[in-house]
Symmetry: C2
Subunit: 680 residues, 2 copies
């Protein structure tokens, strides 16, 4: 690792301006670099935007622009904030080139945050070798919340974190050295993120105390840093706070004392953090307290907090990850996949205006392949957000390469067919489909305090892509990868081409050598890394594959199974209900089928399992041979760290291949048709 690693591309990520590749076209930005013009009364976000442009211009073109409030009478960049948009209306910016004697490149936006997003878009154009003319654009994001959820604990650990320790906490305290948080805020702002939850949704002692006087001043300091980059801070809270912190005898949402406690608590927080975003809540889930404890429903629970935050413009983000985690594997009638819907769909219309339900993209838990949650599109009068997992809990833990944007993209584009009409999930979460007041996307952070932020350097593409997708859900997974690679390795460089190719293949590779056809859960319990086919098969977690010597898969049909399919609109349900029409990649999520089942290409199910595992492993090896030629073309630290992980991935892929193939060979006694090595 180089000594000045904070100046290397591992740390600087896609904002390594010094590494941007200049082209004939992009050199034409140079004349605009003498001045940047902002009004005298510019607020902190606009000042951040101007400062970023000055820094970037200095590093890219060797010219650090002067700051001016007036027309300098020569080419310059002008930053101008229009009226801020009302809450819930999304954000937008415009980049325009005015020619003439004193040409001006103007970045205007809705509010100062809009301008900031626009300046980063401008830098993206520069970094990708575009000309000033080509940089002109007008963009708008309908996603009000573009959010990162941190599962950071006060002791400095990160739940499901694979990239180091927390950026915010250590040894029970909020970190005082906040230098790195500014760099982090810049990274997030650069891709359009505008909200961040600092602490783990599992609010365990002492994290519950973050909303007390002991911690709030330090939290406010962090919130102030984010604020200057257009990002609002949220906190995860325990539903039982009035009892845990306030000494009240109850946390019953209908109790008058509890209501007063939360109202006072909100006042206290907003005194210290005026632009505080609100609360993120995991309630009645995996042993966390919630309204069910008091015989109340989740609307009553969420509304309690919403009432307290409403006077301050705060939001309640209420997670729908509520299920019975003490299921009996013997009982085939209960289905964890159905539980988010069962708990929340009946409450549609009963939440206060400033409540948003945060729904995981799939119905179970961030597997490499799941259908999209049927809860999207099932509620017409409730604001909804989609929760994605950027951190690779089940998808390789930033050891295995797995570009996740395609997965999120699939979820956003999924058509729920509510009322028989086109209902892409992205139109549900941005509020446009049902006219719900709030919405957006949240991604569980994949960053930590390691030198490269995300463990696997190529996993930076997931953070980048998540933010870009939040801003612009229409962006393709390939375009996001291309942008990221161009900015990271140099526009249209061979390294960028290779990285894009690796990223785009990676999800399929990981899926092939892990769990087939949507069945999921072949992982080691607890850590969720590496193969253990039966690891969750007899557990209480509701995550089964039901493999025996004849067949495999979970029957979730309405006809003979758990009737999970019935949670979808009729036309969608009909597709899933029949194994002949069910998308093949989800076959075992919906159906229990014999190993002799013929897939559309004529192969048996069992042979597909063998084939995909041999192929996936071979493809993992190919990722490495693709990367190797980049030696010397990529920063040495970046190169070495990727290579190290590709080696680990190959080892793991072989383990996956052999364990899964042996498992099914032992179960069936049926050998591989192609006579490849399956250990007995």
């Amino acid at each position: 690792m180089r000594k000045d690693w904070k100046n290397g591309p591992l740390y600087r990520c896609w904002l390594s301006y010094g590494g941007y590749r200049l082209t004939e076209k992009s050199l034409r930005f140079r004349p605009f670099c003498r001045f940047v013009r902002i009004p005298e009364d510019a607020g902190p976000v606009l000042r951040s935007a101007a400062e970023e442009w000055r820094r970037a211009a200095g590093e890219i073109f060797g010219v650090r622009p002067g700051l001016t409030a007036d027309d300098p009478g020569c080419p310059h960049v002008r930053l101008r904030a229009d009226e801020a948009a009302p809450a819930g209306a999304g954000s937008g910016f415009r980049i325009s080139l005015e020619s003439g004697p004193s040409p001006c490149l103007t970045v205007s936006g809705r509010g100062e945050s809009g301008v900031l997003t626009g300046v980063f878009a401008l830098l993206r154009a520069v970094g990708r070798g575009r000309s000033p003319e080509e940089a002109q654009t007008e963009e708008e994001s309908r996603n009000e919340l573009r959010m990162i959820d941190h599962w950071d604990n006060l002791d400095g650990s990160v739940e499901r974190g694979y990239a180091g320790r927390s950026l915010f906490f250590r040894n029970g305290r909020v970190l005082r050295n906040t230098a790195r948080i500014t760099d982090y805020a810049r990274l997030l702002a650069s891709v359009g993120i505008n909200a961040v939850a600092l602490n783990n949704v599992n609010v365990l002692p002492p994290a519950g105390k973050l909303i007390t006087g002991k911690y709030l001043p330090a939290v406010a300091k962090i919130a102030g840093i984010f604020s200057a980059w257009g990002i609002r801070t949220f906190l995860s809270v325990s539903f039982a706070s009035p009892a845990e912190l306030g000494g009240l005898p109850t946390a019953d949402p209908l109790d008058e004392g509890v209501r007063r406690w939360w109202a006072r608590k909100a006042d206290e927080i907003y005194r210290l953090i005026p632009d505080f975003g609100g609360f993120l809540v995991k309630a009645d889930s995996e042993s966390r307290p919630g309204p069910y404890t008091y015989g109340r429903n989740h609307a009553e629970g969420a509304n309690l907090l919403a009432e307290a935050l409403a006077p301050h413009g705060g939001l309640v983000i209420w997670r729908c990850f509520v299920y019975n985690c003490h299921l009996d594997w013997r009982d085939r009638s209960r289905d964890r996949a159905k539980m988010a819907y069962e708990n929340f769909a009946p409450l549609d219309g009963r939440f206060r205006e400033n409540v948003i339900l945060q729904i995981k993209s799939g119905p179970v838990d961030f597997q490499i392949r799941e259908p999209v949650s049927p809860l999207f599109g099932a509620m017409r009068r409730t604001s909804q957000m989609m929760e994605c997992q950027i951190t690779q809990e089940y998808t390789g833990q930033q050891i295995d390469l797995c570009y996740l944007v395609p997965l999120w993209k699939e979820a956003l584009e999924f058509d729920a067919r509510t009322d028989g009409e086109r209902t892409p999930v992205r139109s549900v979460v941005d509020g446009s489909r049902f006219g719900t007041p709030h919405g957006g996307m949240a991604g569980v952070s994949n960053v930590g305090d390691g030198p490269g932020w995300t463990g696997h350097p190529l996993a930076q593409a997931n953070l980048y892509g998540f933010g870009r997708l939040c801003w612009q859900p229409a962006l393709s997974a390939e375009a996001a990868a291309r942008e990221w690679a161009d900015l990271t390795f140099g526009a249209r460089s061979p390294a960028a081409d290779t990285a894009v190719s690796m990223l785009l293949r990676s999800r399929a590779v990981y899926e092939r050598y892990t769990s087939p056809l949507g069945v999921g859960w072949f992982v080691n319990p607890g850590c969720h890394y590496g193969p253990s086919v039966d690891g969750y098969e007899y557990s209480r977690w509701g995550t089964y594959h039901r493999a025996d010597c004849k067949g495999i898969g979970v029957d979730r049909t309405a006809r003979t199974g758990t009737a999970y399919t019935a949670q979808y609109s009729p036309s969608v349900a009909a597709v899933y209900e029949d194994p002949k029409t069910c998308p093949e990649e989800l076959l075992l999520f919906f159906h229990h089928l014999p190993y002799s089942w013929r897939l559309r290409d004529g192969r048996t199910l069992l042979q597909y399992i063998y084939d995909s595992h041999f192929e996936g492993c071979a493809e993992a090896e190919r990722l490495k041979s693709d990367w190797l030629p980049l030696k010397g073309q990529v920063d040495p630290d970046f190169f070495a760290e990727v290579l190290r992980r590709l080696d680990l991935q190959i080892e793991d892929a072989r383990e996956w291949r052999d364990v899964v193939n042996t498992y099914f060979f032992r179960k069936t006694g049926v050998p591989d048709e192609k006579k490849r090595k399956i250990y007995p």
Copy 2:
């Protein structure tokens, strides 16, 4: 729980003198209770013995004997220490009744420790309703070391502890409040234990520092308490101490500086703890440092420490639990069961006189059923100890009832047939078979700071029985259970009868509902509790069952398998080699057999698996129905705690039954012949 729980039988265990049941015969001890005579120059151990007799007499007969140095001229108890035995010669005592005008019950022994053991034997006779005449006996133990190994960590946790926190350590410190340690020392002394290792053999920071000035004074205080009860203290040390603590560049056993470091360290320890026992060492095992790190063998490693301790009369207890824990499940030629033998047998004769090899009873790791380690009987010129696990790591974790004395007894009685001659393992470990200078038994402690010491109150019988078996390996498992139950519940009480019956059945019950016929390892990885049939099947730990759709078991034969059998003497090997002669309870440890294999009673192997799991679970339920009628006859806290655990055991037994039966049904598709419920 009663408020004065320290006076209840849960805490007092088999030394609850107030609960001893008086009989016509035992009442005849009463006249001897007026005086206890010890010489004026009695040392601390003899004083402990006298004090124990006074306390017991007071509680049993309501008469607290006076202490006298001279003949009181009336019936009395006399304690008299003969010459102490030379090191390695074992221990003994004699109880004799001298009638006449001033009848005297004399307890004499080899050294004060011998007398102490004798006093407890005398109390045992009282508690079991014997007369003074019947109490007369002469006993001798050839096991020099009768030892308890604690796996206690400095933070207060206990590795594989299921009964609370450490009695010695808390939060990185040695406990200052040592009150409870005296009670513990009494319990151990009462069953003949004479050595204790305080800390975990996995010596992780900061435990390595126990042998530094920072900790030694506090350790010395604890050692002093044990010393007064005839128990010597040992410490587990890290082989890398010279580097970790001494700042030396190496811990190479052949390095002169390293040798000097250990010699000085030994001097330092013995200055503070004059009767220090010596070091217990886990080296080159499960990532602990050891001589292999420096290209040396285990004799060179052990001799390094032995040389340092020899001038002080200290011993090195060197564990043989050395194996490769990065095995490949695909490779059927490597066998963890062979590794202790492979590492140590070739070194026979190369260890210094004061080194003892501590060998686990079985070749793998404390499963409910294993053959006896072939290493016993393979070394003729090396002192050996048997290591047993009193704590129930794999045998129900003191939730499930499992009386382990029968298992240890089997190991002690196992005839290794060295050189074709009768070689019971107990004659190897006590040194008599080969004339080795040292030996004995060590048991991994099952105690913690919970109110009843051992979690499950009936698990006190394991601690009791282990000590008694160390003293008197000829004792039967039933006799040990009977003694314990008589002392705990009242001699020949219905509760004692029930408890004995439950204890004696318990091992078979646990074995039936867990893993069949010696195959082992059907447990959840890491925690080792509850069923996970494939949990270790594809791991690096070398613990496999090799089940497929046709058969199960590990082929360890010389003819077609790993040739583990060849580590036994030829006549023993021949028995194991052939599935027709192999003891059936070990069938799957030694052989891979088809499910259709016929057991001697005509049942198929598969049907045996189903049957035993249904039976084991039903028998677990029977344990509860046996216990229930004792309500009111047993101390209420004791009763309730046992009942609570029996309920948990039943739940767990059902889970075991269903998971294991379903696993094999799914794998084979063959239903239960008796059509009992097996979940699909």
